[in-house]
């Protein structure tokens, strides 16, 4: 009790000096609690947004792919997912799975009539079964027409359409017929007449999605020659093709081996999907690893990528902001530690006579240690609590309205719109622990100085 009394009154005695430190601790706590809550919220929102709009909880792709697939990246064509239908059916049958959608990314040209001439405009798109895609993802709002339910065709992003107008002088409308030009695997160019079925706006991540359009799966297969045969291939050839699919050089391993003969009577033509990814949405994200493991156990030549692997840049934006907040907070607390340490040392030097007197009267070193540690903890914990209350007020305000962010920041951080704040007790506990740790750390040196003061100092205090 006497320790607390001395500590508290000593703090009040030097209140202006201590107020400065207290304010720094309040600021540090605010930064830690509110900053962590906001970045954690951004992280959660970003995750949910990416899962709901782009990747699902995970993506299935061909095992032979050398790159992790990303619905955001269009630079490298990925290999087609083997056994797409079986894999998709298997996943669809899992109780944890809410929806799946096989899809592919590709690009082509659209030949659009402009007066008596035609203009070729670039067309980047997702190819998917529209029903499955719109059941799985929420990122499209149709502003004109219908979402590809009226028959084969394409959906155009309104931003892209505006861009066509601005750059090429053409504007597409619902019902227009255009010619899509696709480069087939064999190097030839295929042309396909497609109808513009609708115009849409992206709901989230407009900075990416403004440039992406849609094509139905059947049109896509025709445009890019995704057809094949099955039923009459000998095992040797199946094995050789499998080896070839593992590596480009694998086909040469067939040299000199008997692959058997092809039974042409059993051969049947089939449409190959051409899908390069299957996005899987789960009912509960926590089941992700279970479902991934179950799929892997089936032995299909496919791999899976988590949502964050498949959206590395966007998933990392929130993490980068979080890292920055942690860095800034660490910096603030480092400054607090040094300022506090110096202030305490100055206090101790000023109080040399007082400490010496206590020692002369019979106070042990542990008593002196307790006094200074209590002073530090009283000040810092009180400041921490004030910081927490201020943070709580901000968190609650943010919970109601969300935190408004500049649109560009919002697009990259959470896909757009105000940032919803998700309160959590974690940052509060962390802040308290950090403040206690900083307090103890900051008092180590001053306490060492204080406990080295001998009772002689009392005699010399004149």
């Amino acid at each position: 009790m006497i320790v607390i009394r001395i500590a508290l009154r000593s703090l009040l005695r030097r209140r202006s000096r201590m107020l400065l430190i207290g304010l720094l601790v309040v600021f540090g706590t605010l930064l830690l609690v509110f900053g962590t809550t906001v970045t954690r919220s951004a992280s959660i929102t970003s995750r949910n947004s990416i899962i709901r709009n782009f990747t699902g909880d995970f993506i299935v792709y061909a095992a032979r792919s050398r790159e992790i697939p990303s619905p955001f990246a269009f630079n490298t064509p990925l290999p087609v997912v083997p056994n797409t239908q079986e894999v998709n059916a298997f996943l669809g049958a899992q109780p944890e799975v809410e929806a799946t959608v096989p899809f592919a990314q590709n690009y082509s040209l659209l030949s659009v009539a402009s007066g008596t001439e035609s203009v070729d405009v670039p067309f980047i798109f997702y190819a998917a079964d529209p029903g499955a895609y719109f059941r799985t993802f929420e990122n499209v709002r149709i502003v004109e027409g219908k979402p590809l339910t009226g028959g084969p065709g394409i959906l155009i992003s309104r931003y892209q359409n505006d861009h066509y107008q601005k750059r090429y002088g053409v504007r597409l409308s619902v019902g227009d017929q255009v010619t899509a030009l696709g480069l087939s695997g064999g190097g030839g160019v295929n042309a396909l007449r497609v109808t513009v079925r609708g115009i849409f706006e992206p709901v989230y991540y407009a900075n990416v999605f403004n440039y992406i359009n849609f094509m139905d799966a059947a049109s896509y297969s025709q445009l890019f020659n995704f057809t094949g045969v099955s039923g009459g291939l000998p095992p040797g050839l199946e094995k050789g093709l499998a080896a070839a699919s593992e590596s480009e050089e694998g086909i040469f391993n067939l040299a000199g081996t008997s692959i058997g003969s092809i039974d042409t009577a059993k051969l049947k033509a089939e449409a190959v999907s051409g899908y390069t990814m299957i996005a899987v949405r789960l009912k509960d994200h926590a089941a992700m690893e279970t479902v991934r493991a179950r799929l892997a156990a089936q032995g299909w030549p496919v791999k899976t990528a988590r949502w964050d692997q498949a959206s590395s840049f966007f998933a990392n934006v929130a993490s980068a902001v979080q890292a920055f907040i942690y860095f800034a907070t660490a910096l603030v607390f480092l400054v607090v530690t040094f300022i506090f340490m110096n202030t305490l040392v100055i206090n101790i030097i000023e109080r040399t006579g007082e400490i010496g007197t206590m020692r002369a009267l019979g106070a042990e070193r542990s008593f002196i240690r307790s006094v200074f540690l209590t002073e530090t903890l009283l000040l810092n914990v009180a400041a921490c609590i004030i910081g927490m209350i201020a943070s709580l007020a901000l968190v609650l305000a943010g919970r109601t309205t969300g935190i408004p962010l500049p649109e560009t920041v919002s697009q990259y951080l959470v896909g757009g719109g105000p940032l919803p704040v998700v309160p959590s007790i974690g940052p509060f506990i962390t802040a308290l622990l950090v403040v206690v740790a900083v307090s103890i750390l900051a008092t180590l040196l001053p306490i060492r100085v204080a406990t080295r003061i001998t009772p002689l100092a009392a005699m010399n205090d004149r």
Partner: protein
């Protein structure tokens, strides 16, 4: 019965290569209940002797026995316990704890002992508060007291643990002459009433007249030891 015994105590300090002798071989015995003044000019070694007796400094050579025990080999913790239980201090600059009020300053040594209930402490503190006539100043902080009042608080604080010996280092040096005399008179009265051994240092000839025994120091040596039965 001797309370303190110094046997050929020397104390020197090294200032660079120069040896400074503070005490040059002092032997002194203080009996229980004595009211003793250590007198001498500045630099004669008065404070150094008090520091040795108060277990806050060690002799370079020689022995210091407090209550029959040699304190030379005691650890810091043991010396602290010794000071807490056997010695009371009165300082020249009063050395009250600035954040505690009069009552709390006097109570402080008892709190360090951690052996008494609040009620027991209160009883003892109030007894000494009355002895030093500060009952109307209990809630005052040291800054709200005069020099004489502060020294009276220090006296009560030194006596409250019923120590074997009370050491007062120039207790009147920061007081005006009249107050100084009153403080020494108060110390003397308490010495008579409580039978507490009281040793104080002074270079003021008028103040030392109150003592029953005066030990004179000069240049770290005892140059006189005079008892005054009717002081």
């Amino acid at each position: 019965m001797s309370v303190v015994k110094l046997v050929d105590v020397q104390k020197y300090y090294m200032l660079g290569d120069t040896r400074v002798d503070a005490l040059r071989g002092i032997s002194l015995t203080i009996e229980k209940g004595e009211f003793l003044a250590i007198a001498g000019p500045s630099g004669s070694g008065k404070s150094t002797i008090l520091n040795m007796i108060g277990c806050i400094d060690n002799p370079s050579t020689g022995r210091v026995l407090i209550d029959g025990a040699d304190v030379e080999h005691l650890s810091d913790t043991e010396l602290t316990r010794y000071r807490r239980t056997k010695i009371g201090f009165i300082f020249q600059s009063f050395n009250l704890i600035p954040v505690l009020n009069v009552y709390e300053n006097i109570e402080f040594p008892l709190l360090l002992r951690r052996t008494m209930t609040r009620r027991e402490r209160e009883k003892i503190v109030m007894r000494f508060v009355e002895e030093v006539q500060l009952t109307d100043r209990l809630k005052n902080k040291p800054t709200e007291l005069s020099g004489g009042q502060r020294q009276r608080v220090a006296i009560a604080r030194a006596l409250v643990t019923n120590p074997l010996i009370v050491l007062a280092d120039e207790p009147t040096a920061n007081l005006d002459s009249a107050t100084g005399h009153k403080i020494v008179e108060l110390m003397k009265t308490i010495n008579e009433m409580e039978k507490t051994t009281l040793v104080f240092s002074t270079h003021d000839a008028h103040i030392m007249e109150h003592a029953r025994r005066v030990v004179n120091l000069r240049d770290g040596l005892v140059v006189g030891d005079e008892s005054r039965s009717a002081a």
